[in-house]
C-alpha cells in the first residue's frame, strides 16, 4: 500500500501547526489567540489523518475545533476584553519562563535525537477503513469502565459549570 500523503504534507501541516501555536502564545488579543488555536487544532487533525487515525480526526474537528473552541470564544465575549487588552501581555517572570521552556524543549529534542534508534522509521499500516469500528470495539470491551467513568466526568462538568456560573446567589 502506498502512503496516501507525501512528505510535503507533513512539513506543511507541522509548519502551520507550529506557527499558529506560537501565535496563540504571542497574540495580545485573546480572540486572535483562540482563532490561531483553531488553526493548530485543524492542522493536527490533518496530521492524525496522515497517521491513519480517521476517528480521532473526526473527533478532533467536531469536539475540539467545533465544541471547545466555541466555548472559549463565548467566554471571551462574556468577559470584558477591552480591559484585558489594556493590561500588560506577559507577566514579570516572562524571561525565567522563556528560559525554562526553551530548556525543556531543548531537553525533549535532545532526548529524541539521542534516542532515535528506539523508534525505527519504518512502520506498516493498519487498513484504515476498519478504524472506527475497531476503536468502538476497544471502547466497549477493554475500556468499558473508563468509558463509563468518562460519562460521570461529563456529568461532573455539567453540574460544576452550572454551580459555578449560575447567576442567582440564593
Amino acid at each position: 500500500m502506498t502512503p496516501i500523503a507525501p512528505t510535503f504534507f507533513f512539513y506543511f501541516l507541522s509548519a502551520v501547526a507550529l506557527i499558529s501555536a506560537i501565535l496563540v502564545i504571542t497574540r495580545k488579543n485573546p480572540v486572535h489567540s483562540a482563532l490561531a488555536l483553531i488553526v493548530t487544532l485543524l492542522s493536527l487533525a490533518g496530521l492524525y489523518l496522515m497517521l491513519y487515525a480517521p476517528f480521532v480526526t473526526g473527533v478532533q474537528v467536531i469536539v475540539y475545533a467545533g465544541g471547545i473552541m466555541v466555548l472559549f470564544l463565548f467566554v471571551i465575549m462574556l468577559v470584558n476584553i477591552e480591559r484585558a487588552m489594556k493590561e500588560e501581555e506577559f507577566n514579570k517572570q516572562w524571561i525565567a519562563g522563556l528560559i525554562a521552556s526553551l530548556l525543556l524543549g531543548g531537553l525533549f529534542l535532545a532526548v529524541y535525537f539521542k534516542g532515535r534508534a528506539i523508534f525505527p522509521s519504518e512502520f506498516t499500516k493498519i487498513p484504515e477503513q476498519m478504524n472506527t469500528q475497531q476503536v468502538g470495539m476497544l471502547i466497549f470491551q477493554n475500556y468499558l469502565l473508563p468509558f463509563e467513568i468518562a460519562s460521570l466526568l461529563l456529568l461532573v462538568a455539567i453540574v460544576g459549570a452550572v454551580v459555578m456560573a449560575k447567576k442567582k446567589l440564593s
Binding site: 507541522s14 502564545i25 488555536l37 480591559r83 519562563g97 529524541y112 532515535r116 471502547i139 459549570a161 459555578m164
Partner: protein
C-alpha cells in the same frame, strides 16, 4: 515516508509552546488555551505511537484525553466567569497566581 520521531519532535515543540504560554501569559483565558496546546501535544504523540505499534489503544486514550479537555474547559471557564464577576479582571497577577 515520515519517520515516527518527526511526529514526536513536533509534539515536543508544541508541548514546550504550551508550557511557555502557561508560564508567561497574564490573561487567564490564554493560559487555558496553552493548557489545551499541551494536551494536543500529548494527543499527537499518542496517535503517533499508536500508529507505530499498530495498536489502537493509543487512539482510545486520545479519545479520553479529549473528553477530559472538554470537561476541564467547561468547568474552568465557569470558574473564570465566577472570578470575573467578583473581581472584574482576568489577570492572574491580580489574583496572585504564583504567590508562594
Amino acid at each position: 515516508m515520515v519517520p515516527i520521531s518527526y511526529y514526536l519532535v513536533l509534539s515536543a515543540i508544541l508541548f514546550a509552546c504550551g508550557v511557555l504560554g502557561f508560564l508567561i501569559k497574564r490573561n487567564v483565558i490564554t493560559i487555558f488555551m496553552s493548557i489545551e496546546l499541551m494536551l494536543n501535544a500529548v494527543n499527537l504523540s499518542f496517535v503517533a505511537f499508536a500508529s507505530y505499534w499498530q495498536a489502537l489503544s493509543g487512539q482510545v486514550f486520545v479519545f479520553f484525553v479529549m473528553v477530559v479537555a472538554a470537561a476541564e474547559a467547561a468547568v474552568g471557564l465557569a470558574i473564570i466567569i465566577a472570578v470575573f464577576r467578583t473581581r472584574q479582571t482576568l489577570n492572574p497577577d491580580r489574583v496572585n497566581l504564583l504567590k508562594l
